[in-house]
């Protein structure tokens, strides 16, 4: 459940927090795109390091570290699956290239996770909703989206309680072989899903009784405005993107010695 902790918004008042959510979203998307376009480990490392100053500027290093640590399980799985599949299809040979390739894919995941972590850690759900609305996305979708985010920590909490309850009935989550461990999650998942469905029905009733959707035109108390800092950040991001794409498609990075 640590993974979700790293996505939870913490109130803060830094340069990064004050940026317009749309700016932050575009910057995250730029990092996301770059991480997908490049398959070179050194470049991904640069992309990763480029995020470090942002993390310190937003003072979320502790939460960020926690989310990266929480994502380590998935990272390991990505690494192991690639090694395994490559190893088998390669005729049971472990090559330097295969290890490098698997490391790159795992690292790419870390970069993606990190960029989203920064975005969610520094953007309040309210701002996010406003940004979506002002992008003319129908309010129902905005609401569904922000509600989903809003309920992530609630669900994480609930999952913990359910695990405790089932362990108290003798369920050993950490024992047994791989298949058994997967089966062990059925008693956790069913109450979690049933609870989520029940809650969403209740939420719908509660909202309707508070006249949700009674009026088509909505007004907002706060209006988002792009400021100079937003344009500066966007320009830097756009330059970075253009430069990287230019290198990628017209110049090319020097290849790593693959054997």
């Amino acid at each position: 459940m640590r993974v979700f902790e790293g996505l939870r918004f913490r109130r803060g008042d830094t340069v990064i927090h004050r940026l317009d959510p749309r700016t932050k979203f575009i910057l995250s998307t730029i990092i996301f795109t770059l991480a997908l376009v490049f398959t070179e480990l050194p470049f991904l490392m640069m992309l990763f390091l480029a995020q470090v100053p942002l993390i310190y500027m937003a003072r979320v290093q502790r939460e960020w570290k926690r989310s990266i640590r929480g994502g380590m399980v998935l990272t390991t799985i990505i690494f192991a699956t690639n090694i395994l599949v490559g190893y088998v299809s390669n005729g049971f040979r472990l090559t330097y290239g295969l290890v490098l390739y698997s490391t790159t894919l795992a690292f790419r995941f870390v970069v993606l996770m990190s960029s989203f972590s920064i975005f969610f850690l520094t953007t309040s759900p309210d701002d996010l909703s406003l940004a979506l609305q002002q992008s003319r996305i129908p309010y129902e979708f905005c609401f569904a989206f922000t509600t989903a985010i809003r309920f992530v920590p609630v669900l994480a909490n609930e999952a913990q309680t359910i695990m405790d309850a089932q362990k108290s009935r003798g369920l050993e989550l950490e024992k047994g072989n791989f298949l058994r461990r997967i089966r062990n999650f059925i008693p956790i998942l069913i109450p979690l899903i049933v609870g989520a469905i029940r809650r969403s029905l209740e939420l719908a009733e509660a909202m309707e009784s508070r006249a949700f959707g009674a009026k088509k035109e909505r007004t907002s108390l706060y209006i988002l405005k792009m400021r100079r800092s937003d344009w500066t950040a966007l320009s830097i991001g756009a330059l970075l993107l253009a430069f990287s794409l230019y290198i990628r498609f017209f110049v090319g990075l020097p290849p790593l010695p693959l054997t």
Partner: protein, 275 residues
């Protein structure tokens, strides 16, 4: 026997929920733990089967530190029934739900069948044997949860808020049932806000406030100590309040029992003397 020695517990969020609690739950004892919201009651009992491990201090179950055993191992002896049954029900039938714990603890199929039948009839759930636990009412689901723990017959049963969502009739049944399993030699610990229910059961009462134990004694002493109760946001039982307001008539304090109060009042108005 559960021994808690100088227990401190701080949640990862930084909230210190229990601060220096020392208490012993002896075998065959019946204990109610009361206190305001956030007093640390649930946090304390979650240490009894090792779900939470002490930040400082130690908890011993029959002499064995909870840090040295898994939750599943400890739960064989200390059965914890969670407040919300929806956090544990997942099977297709009530019967399967009961069998889940028994299978985890390695009971044989024949044993499972017998124990399931026993516990279902004990809790008045026999007619729902083949029903899905999800279609039952809140109170019934709560009883299924209780049955699913009681089935493996742990030495200590811990109930977190057992009376919530139960009507008066079910509460009365629950009371008799709890007294019965206690009489059969099991320890019962219940966390509750329901002061009338505690007064009816008359167990040993532990009062917690702000992570500490502020009172520990027999129900008739603790529940009539107005000053202590108000510290933990508890209102005395109505019988006690009534007798307190009639204190100028020379009625004794420490009364929480309806029948005892009736006898006293009867004597006061002279009915008991004649009758």
């Amino acid at each position: 026997m559960i021994e808690v020695r100088d227990l401190y517990y701080t949640y990862p969020s930084g909230v210190q929920a229990v601060s220096g609690v020392t208490v012993t739950i002896r075998d065959k004892e019946f204990v109610a733990i009361m206190g305001e919201n956030g007093a640390g009651k649930s946090t304390l009992v979650k240490h009894f089967n090792g779900i939470l491990k002490p930040t400082k201090g130690e908890v011993l179950v029959d002499g064995r530190p909870t840090t040295k055993a898994s939750v599943a191992e400890l739960s064989r002896d200390v059965g914890l029934v969670f407040q919300n049954p929806d956090h544990q029900l997942f099977s297709e039938t009530v019967e399967e739900e009961i069998a889940f714990g028994l299978r985890n603890f390695g009971f044989g199929e024949k044993d499972i069948e017998e124990r399931t039948a026993w516990v279902l009839s004990l809790l008045d759930l026999m007619r729902y044997r083949k029903a899905s636990p999800f279609i039952l009412s809140g109170g019934e689901r709560k009883r299924v949860a209780l049955a699913s723990v009681l089935a493996w017959d742990p030495k200590v049963i811990v109930l977190d808020e057992p009376t919530i969502g139960q009507d008066y009739g079910q509460k009365e049944k629950l009371r008799q049932f709890v007294l019965e399993i206690n009489e059969q030699g099991r320890s019962v610990v219940m966390v509750t806000h329901d002061v009338e229910f505690v007064a009816d059961c008359s167990p040993r009462v532990i009062v917690m406030s702000k992570g500490r134990i502020v009172g520990d004694g027999e129900a008739n002493e603790i529940l009539t100590d107005a000053e202590l109760l108000s510290r933990a946001s508890i209102i005395p039982p109505q019988i006690t309040q009534l007798l307190d307001q009639l204190s100028d008539l020379g009625l004794p304090r420490h009364v929480i029992d309806l029948h005892q109060a009736k006898t006293l009042l009867d004597r006061l108005v002279g009915v008991g003397v004649e009758g």
